[in-house]
Amino acid sequence: MKRDFMRQRVLLIFVGLVFAALVARLFHIQIVDGSYKQAASNNTLRYEVLYPPRGEVFDRNGEYIIQSKEAYDLMVVPRDVIKGFDTVLLCRIVDVPLPRMRSQLERAAAYSGRRPSVVVPQLSKETKLLLDELRLPGFYTVYRTVRSYPRKIAGNLLGFVGEVDGRDLARDDYYRSGDYIGRTGIEQAYEHYLRGEKGVKINMVDVGGVVQGAWQNGRLDTQAVAGRSLTASIDAGLQAFTEELLAGKVGAVVAIEPSTGEILVMASGPSYDPDEMVGRDRGTNYARLANDNRRPMFNRAVQSHQPPGSTFKVLNALIGLQEGVLKPNYKYECYGGYNSGRVHVGCHDHFSPVDLNQAIMTSCNTYFCHVLRNIMDEPEHGGSASRGGYDHWAEHVRTFGLGRKLDSDFTGEQSGNIYGSDYYNKTYRGSWNSLTVISLAIGQGEILSSPLQMANFASTIANRGHYFIPHVIKSIEGAEMDQKFYEPHHTDVSPEHFEAVIEGMWMAANTEAGTVFGRGYVPGLDICGKTGTAENPHGQDHSVFMGFAPRNDPRIAVYVYIENGGFGASTAVPIGSLVIEKYLTGATTRPDRVDYVKARKINYPNYDNRPAI
């Protein structure tokens, strides 16, 4: 009996051990090891991204310049596709050649049998409805928005969106593969506001990947928040008009409202229709534009820089007045140019001698050579350019926003160039003087500036000594603009000195002897202007115009730079004056001038004769 008792005990202990082992194992996988919970959510939870519509952009008059249109991506889940479905019919509906459809489907199948892939992106609503009717198993459409540029203007200014690349993904975890991001222009600069916030819908799926309902009744789901809409300072009508005038020419036009720094026009020629960068032909269009010798995707208004030419004389005059080495009534004689030692700076034919106003009006080179030398050789600043005179001058120039980036809201701004004296010390081994840099007197030589900087300079003159940082966006829906755009930046030339040079610029545009008058005079508008003819060693000179109007209470400041355009008066002046007139009066009174500009054919051998890239 005792043996039986022992055996009974052993069996009970065995039973106990079996259940202890089961409970211990349960304890381990249910409580100690958390990895099973993660594995369970990986099994059942699918995160569906809800895409927000991208923010839209209006011009200063409330007209759409960038719109978000609804579009649909055709998706496929390869393993749900029924073999032998009517591929040809599908191809006809979505308008894709059969071989391409086949390769797309193969690629999707290679990626994953269970996860959806995009087959054809950006289909219209009509196509989507046709597809819905067809009800092909394994295919479905998802809502996306696609960009549309209704005015078809300002390609470089508005920019375009493109699919994100590896660098974008690494830099910002907002983006997922296949997302779109602003690549250039406003689309890039204001990406953060335009993109909105993506929503997420967490679905539960069964073992076959079929959605079975919302996770936790959608409590953790988030809605997509649409991107903010922007109001641009651009005047779409004026921009379109300017682009018409620029057609066939290489150059840039920038117009600014002086009292605010708002950019009214930013045109770069040649340009392109921004709608070309949307949709299915985007790839071919992009390749064509990228291979164009005239580089239409290069935004010359901010990304190019050149010697400003004679328009820069105005700045030398202002510095001279501020330094006291120039008075408006100072007269210099000019007989075909400026001569000092072995240096000769030629000048065109005009009356002599001239005072300051007349010098600006006639754009006399000799006069400004005297002015520059007087500034640089001033005794109180070392008495010589190389001993401080130059740096003192450059200091003044920089307060006008030249030689550095203006810090606008625009990306890809070119900083231009104003050297420090160290450059000349190095180049001439210390032995140089104001005569060495005499080209600076007439805006030639080492000085480089972008059209945006020069338009800002025009705006500064119009404001009599201060400017607001130029910007293309006026306001953001539901957000503050950066305060920096509302702060005036003062130059270190006193306001009272401006009236003298403005008088000269007014005379240039309103008296018959003036350089602007011939093709730039508009009665009653009080345009103040200055021509420029930038020397071009490679061909025709570049045609430049800088101006603003009206003289008192200026509302627009313009800078025009036309490559190979010849004299300032021949191309840049009519364009500039037409833009000013159109903006101030809403129309142009001189159809012959418009026709003249449009008919003016300029050859660009240095672009067009280059072998294709």
Binding site: Q8, L22, M204, Q212
Partner: protein, 481 residues
């Protein structure tokens, strides 16, 4: 006398083991509620009798009716009916070989129009009764070879048929009668050898052959130490074997410069040491020493043949064993079921996801979730707490059966109760164990939880007859007062 007997054997007598009945009813109720969750489909909320939970409800009704019938039959009839039941069920099983239909690769089902029966499920009941009948005969002894052969025949016949049916899972269940046989005095060496065989079989996948030899020799030495209550001799033996084998191996490797494996030196040293040990034991008149020599040699031979045994298994059986042991892991193919099952249970956490909220089972990630892997739904929806409650109920049921067996006046009732306890224990161990990766996957049901009428009815009959036999003995005790 007849009057008194009729009165006392009534179910209303009051000596029914209500604990067992209650536990069983609770398990049945939980089982059905859980089955409902396992096949639950949100899109079809109306109650349908054609669904699995509807069918199961019908089977529960049939089983409870049968239970009532069982309780009303006098306990003496089970002595008489034991052989007929055994033979009838065996015949049914044999008929499946001819008329049976194949489900999941096993030709083990009989089709009666609306109902399908799996006779193998009832065979456990038949064998339990037959064993109780055969072993309660006066003069029966499990130590006697002839009697042991009878037991082997009773168990072996249905097992043989199951192998013919390719239903290995059901055949494994018959190992559960070892539980009862131990109580009835089967030689404990059989259990020791079986234990050693299993340890060595599974151990051979984990440890190297050198380690296995060390384990065997060490195990024998420890066993020797326990048996003779002396530790000097085994320690001296182990130390000298280790010293000699390492020294010879080092010498050969360093001096002769031959890179033979240490394994061969260890094997040779053990081989040489055996005659020496036998001679010493003989001199000291240790009569039981041959057992250890046999164990050692047997283990060595077994280990060298495990490869052969393993290779003889089906591929899916091999893979299930390797997966459970963690030797191989391929959650997408062979290990898919167990991996998904562990995910379902593991994600349940402490308190579970709540009734009908189990995502892994609801969305069909776990295969066979209403039958073999029904425990996943318990683990996922009721969590650790719920799983432990269910396991503890089974544990209590088994303990109750053991207690009932012990208080029987007759060997028949004791043997039967222990048989039932063993069957329940093995089912719970294997079924729950495989869902949590403790035991290789063997497709057998969890009593009262898995979907299936045959098994539900069979488990009910197994249990209720035990209760009825227990009542009969209570009757005797009462009449003696």
């Amino acid at each position: 006398m007849m009057m008194a007997r009729a009165k006392h054997s009534s179910v209303l007598h009051g000596k029914v083991d209500w604990w067992t009945i209650t536990i069983a009813l609770v398990l049945m109720a939980l089982g059905w509620v859980n089955l409902y969750a396992a096949v639950y489909d949100e899109t079809r909320t109306a109650f349908e009798f054609s669904s699995q939970y509807g069918m199961q409800l019908i089977w529960i009704g049939i089983s409870l009716a049968m239970a009532l019938v069982v309780m009303l039959v006098d306990d003496k009839y089970y002595h008489i009916l034991a052989w007929p039941i055994y033979i009838v069920v065996l015949m049914l099983m044999l008929s499946t070989l001819v008329f049976g239909i194949t489900v999941n690769g096993a030709k083990a089902w009989l089709d009666f129009g609306p109902v399908r029966l799996q006779p193998a499920e009832f065979m456990k009941w038949g064998v339990a009764l037959a064993l109780a009948r055969a072993m309660s005969v006066f003069g029966f002894s499990v130590s006697h070879p002839r009697d042991l052969f009878r037991v082997a025949l009773i168990v072996g016949l249905p097992v043989g048929v199951m192998f013919l049916q390719h239903d290995v899972g059901s055949a494994v269940v018959f190992a559960s009668f070892l539980f009862m046989l131990y109580r009835e005095g089967l030689n404990r060496w059989i259990y020791i050898v079986l234990g050693v065989v299993m340890v060595l079989f599974f151990g051979s996948f984990w440890i190297t052959d050198t380690g296995l030899v060390m384990l065997i020799v060490g195990g024998c030495a420890v066993g020797f130490g326990f048996t003779y209550r002396t530790w000097r001799a085994p320690i001296v033996y182990l130390a000298s074997v280790a010293l000699v084998s390492v020294a010879v191996w080092a010498c050969v490797t360093l001096l002769a410069g031959v890179g033979w494996r240490y394994y061969y030196f260890l094997l040779a040293t053990v081989g040489v040491s055996l005659p020496v040990c036998v001679a010493l034991a003989y001199a000291k008149r240790m009569r039981g020493f041959w057992v250890f020599v046999l164990l050692l040699v047997g283990s060595m031979v077994f280990v060298s043949t495990t490869e052969v045994v393993f290779e003889s298994l089906d591929l899916h059986q091999q893979k299930r064993i390797l997966n459970t042991l963690g030797v191989e892991s391929d959650p997408s193919h062979w290990g898919y079921n167990v991996n998904q099952s562990k995910i379902a249970i593991g994600s349940g956490g402490v308190l579970g996801k709540g009734y009908l909220e189990g995502t892994q089972t609801k969305f069909n990630f776990v295969p066979e979730q209403s039958t073999d892997f029904i425990f996943c739904t318990v683990g996922e929806e009721w969590g650790f707490v719920g799983s432990v409650v269910v396991l503890m109920l089974f544990c209590a049921l088994i303990m109750r059966l053991v207690a009932m067996g012990e208080r029987q006046q007759e060997a028949f009732g004791r043997i039967y109760c222990y048989s039932v306890a063993g069957v329940f224990l093995l089912h719970v161990l294997i079924n729950a164990g495989m869902t949590i990766g403790l035991v290789p996957v063997i497709g057998i049901p969890l009593p009262f939880f898995s979907y299936g009428g045959s098994s539900f009815l069979a488990f009910t009959l197994l249990l209720v007859v035990a209760v009825r036999l227990d009542l009969g003995s209570g009757d005797l005790a009462a009449s003696r007062e």
